[in-house]
Symmetry: D3
Subunit: 261 residues, 6 copies
């Protein structure tokens, strides 16, 4: 098996720092995969990416050292199997609100006898090595998302599900579900985050969360150990806005210049 | 015809500020096209983009207000015609070293009687309006690149070529051609830039140049009136490197956290 | 939010006239999107289109004024969320046969508290405006299809489902389900259509239907207020058949012509 | 070798009737290829099509009986070889203005000793049969376009070029080149067409031309024997405009209908 | 309807010999489709193929005579309908473990009154003929996979499901489910295969299985009547490994050769 | 710079063994790139591959250790620069018949002062290292093809061209050019091969040739030091034909089997 910085960080208890891909392109995937993040996640849920684009993106990510991660569009067996066969080593599963849904996510991502994943690791095995199918259950992470009030209410049962080693908080949806809106800073919201971290620690599960560069230090200090700092598109747009300002603000030399026509 | 901020800036004598697309994706094109640049250039020469990807990128650029610009891979009639038919309103032509090559570039981009562009504006006409074919010669910019010692020696003849309204300096290649290397800051290099600007002003031609955020203020102050500040990939990578540092530098809360396994 | 002719027609009580995309191409999408229809539907169920092709098609549709509509392959949460995030403003959901299925379709397309759509409008928000997420529930139409005997039997319960503002009849499947076959003109079939219209009017819901140019006047006169007249492929094929006849029927000049070899 | 209706029409002296593909899609190619035209041309010059899209389009055309034809973007050896290797049986070469350019087009499309086409018919040979490479020179048509005043002046020399069995008039460009504009009906323009037909007949070369449904009968009566009646996009758009009128003109039933909100 | 060698073999009781596509390419599909197999299966479950790639692959398969078969990723109505509409004539459905799941697979692939497949055979009907929709239920094969202990336990109920004419054994998953591992040769495994064949014969259902060239004779002798011998990727890789050995083993002539620099 | 087995073999005087890609797919490229060949060539001339497909193929090849090689469609500056920027470390240039054409190929692939390649190694530099642009001229191989009588006549002048370190014989075209046909075994043909090898040795240039598994031992013994043994498609088809025979030849068990219907 290739090195897996996401799992290494989990084992070491240090924060796994990640970035996020929303653009359906193997070119951006190769570039992001070489920046040095512990993991890079291909977002098939809210990113503009489907399986057809994901395959060359996973190939491009294999050129770098980050753990190839995929968020699937939904908790469904077909797509969970397909992204694992194509080489994803971690799968983020959205909208896991109950222990039953957590158990479904786990079994869909693991081979028998633990789970019901169908055997056919067409790219994963040549990539990771001939023993892939034998050891995949010990190396692949299936990571449920916690993003509703219901999920928080069921947090202990979800965290107690066998083979749940990490969870990933979706703060936007959680804020909306709590009736506080997107980007809320309400104390009850950070209380919920702290509660999740505390229960994760109690269960020996890694708490993860989607963040921004601004809020990342707070999230890490708060105890999150798997943090996405930013995304391909946000990074690009932020820098391009700044660059445009530089162009607009530059002082123009008037000597000689005039209209071009 | 739709608004054309590149030409409006040319006419006003104000700097046209641009960005640059190297990623073959309509998703990044739409995002970059909405930042507010005067022009956005699809780079078919050094970008990882070919015609097949360029078409949906030009469609995406039409959703924003920037002038859709394309750098073709080489000074060839087939591809110059194809990018114009697909809706490009400005074409940057690399490695124009002589007046003859400038004349070739111009004629390949213009309809008879001025040029020899073949008629078939399959997307340009529905996009720009029913009079497109009649007025295209007055609205499309064919912009030769100045990027060798030979081109600088021939600068007056190139600038005197009819319908050359702007040129675009390739500083990397020019530095290499001068034996100074990429990213040179040798005074003879900036002297060459100043000479180009001076001759442009003398001919009533807009001087353009490829830049970086750091060097853009100098280039504009030096008299350039068409400046690319940065590219999609550079912007993305720069911001992602910064974001990773934020994650790595965050202070970790030790309470309760431990290895996940 | 951008103008939405489909909803404007619904509000005005005038027939919303639509066309239909079965070809996986942003080129045909741009052309059809500029003809002037109130809405244009990307058909992911029976069209030869999947999500990968749909994204540039929605980008192309944004260049025109028609309401970007998508028929999803099935009533599933993953794909309903993905097409909305990519910018669809109306979603047609096939095979809604019960009030429970209608409620599922609605909740999958709406944010909390009404629904369970996950938050991440990656293209919809930049396109429609910064308040998109706040007002999406009031602007997005989730439109169940009525296409089985069972659905007709449950029509009142389906129409009474909160946030069902329109339904769309699939006449082929309805005819088959009634045992009358495709393209039936049996009076019991048109009686069923009239019944659906009548119940829609009773519930204040817009009745929609898939049609052909030949049958469109009848459908509108019968009370349907959302009518697809034809599709990209049908339009193209019909006209090409006529054009071939013109070529075959032309009188040949015999003077001078002979075999070419 | 498979049947080749284009060549069969040439041999019989009957008009070869064709259609034209501008959309980069194997779906539209399959549909158009099954209408019954003698030839269908993939337009890589003014169509929105490049080689990457052309390959599955040629595969789709092989499902029908029309002669697979390609217009290359320019008279260049690389692309002429590539489209023939992929299975094109006729190649239309734009902007052939002199006998030298006609000779270049022919040699680029034919194997030694007549030409310099490189050997590697990767799809053409499995498709057409094991003797393809031996007989290709006798079955492939390389068809120069006549679309400038210069080409008309050189018409006899072009027509006398060995292996020029047909030419194809580009009326838009020819009108522009004559200073008469696109879509001209000036008598001097039709005189030029008649002159081309007359010289073709004198040389035993098939005269071809791009047309519209309206003008096709005139062109055939005038002696053209290879006529493109319409294109995929024109056909689709024409029919969709008519269909929209049907929807708009339908009489609305007022009973019971009202605004939906 | 076109010839269907898979069904012809079923009817004749002779083994249907198949190959398998894992590469998302219409080029490999055309090549494999012309080798002469009775059926060729596009594998959307473990192959690196999604719907977007599958459409041109089915077009390419139509150029050959093999029955176009698709393995869907999962037993879901949306994708089963889509692959049939695109022209698949047989659908292999993974992980059918109960009679209820078999019944679901059948109904999702058949029109009313037997099933609930939605009507819209956009490519299947032009390809197979105008009576496609009327006779599809009699020509399309929906083939459940038997690949778990649970499925073997339920084998009689599955085989007794109306319209199950063939089943397809997944030996890898079956071995894992039996706790014997992939590629097992344990007698209890071959006993299970013999039991499946025996029950198939008793029910008049064709037993199929995934195989390798080495094991194919055994499987056929054992009574399987639908056997996939190998896949596109396995075939390619196997031959390339051999070819490399030939190159490495060749005797080098030493005369005159030396380092190139 | 990454390891470059092609150049290492050149330096060591051992045969560089290669394979060849004709399928436009990153999936086949990854598989072939992991077999262990010294170099793998993406064939843009006769393969069904264009630049759009080539980029993810070069990404996939970077996952293996073979030297990424590209055959360009023709000796043109635009495409030679593009494939190098995308990461090709060797470029095979077809139809180089004169020393002038060899010099053109070399200068198009090398930076100033030796050549005129434009600077912008967008993928090559991140892949190969920050010094790429400084040392590329010493690491990139531009390899002219010898495939006509004219090229053989000019062989000494071609081999004497500075920076020609290897040539590649196209035996099909050479046989045709010699009037001997494809696949000739005429002694005058092998004499020509021996002559080419002898002149290469005299000039210190590596002789390369396109081969088959059958003929590879002879070619290596004859002195060729860069040999392509087979291609993706040939390998796949050869093995599939054998596999089909295995299926057809298997003995059928008659017990219990019968027609399925």
């Amino acid at each position: 098996m290739r090195p897996n910085p996401l799992r290494e960080a989990f084992a070491a208890g240090t924060p796994a720092i990640g970035s996020w891909l929303s653009v359906p392109s193997s070119v951006t995937a190769e570039v992001v995969g070489n920046v040095g993040y512990d993991f890079v996640c291909v977002d098939m849920q809210h990113g503009l990416i489907d399986y057809t684009s994901m395959v060359p993106m996973l190939q491009a990510l294999s050129l770098g050292g980050s753990t190839a991660t995929v968020r699937v569009p939904w908790n469904e067996p077909g797509i969970i199997g397909k992204v694992l066969d194509a080489g994803a080593m971690a799968v983020i599963v959205p909208m896991v609100n109950t222990a039953e849904e957590a158990e479904q996510a786990i079994t869909r991502g693991m081979y028998a006898p633990r789970g019901s994943r169908s055997s056919g690791p067409i790219r994963a095995q040549p990539l990771e090595g001939p023993d892939y199918a034998d050891v995949a259950n010990d190396h692949v992470e299936i990571i449920p998302m916690i993003e509703t009030v219901q999920a928080v209410e069921n947090i202990d049962a979800i965290l107690a599900t066998e083979n749940v080693n990490a969870i990933y908080v979706g703060p936007m949806d959680l804020g909306v579900s709590m009736g506080l809106g997107r980007g809320t800073t309400d104390p009850s919201f950070t209380d919920a985050l702290d509660h999740i971290v505390e229960r994760c620690n109690a269960h020996g599960v890694v708490p993860g969360i989607h963040a921004t560069p601004q809020i990342t230090p707070d999230r890490i200090e708060r105890g999150f150990r798997m943090v996405v700092v930013t995304t391909d598109l946000t990074a690009m747009r932020t820098n391009l806005v700044d660059a445009l300002s530089i162009g607009r603000d530059a002082e123009v030399d008037d000597a000689g210049a005039g209209g071009g026509y």
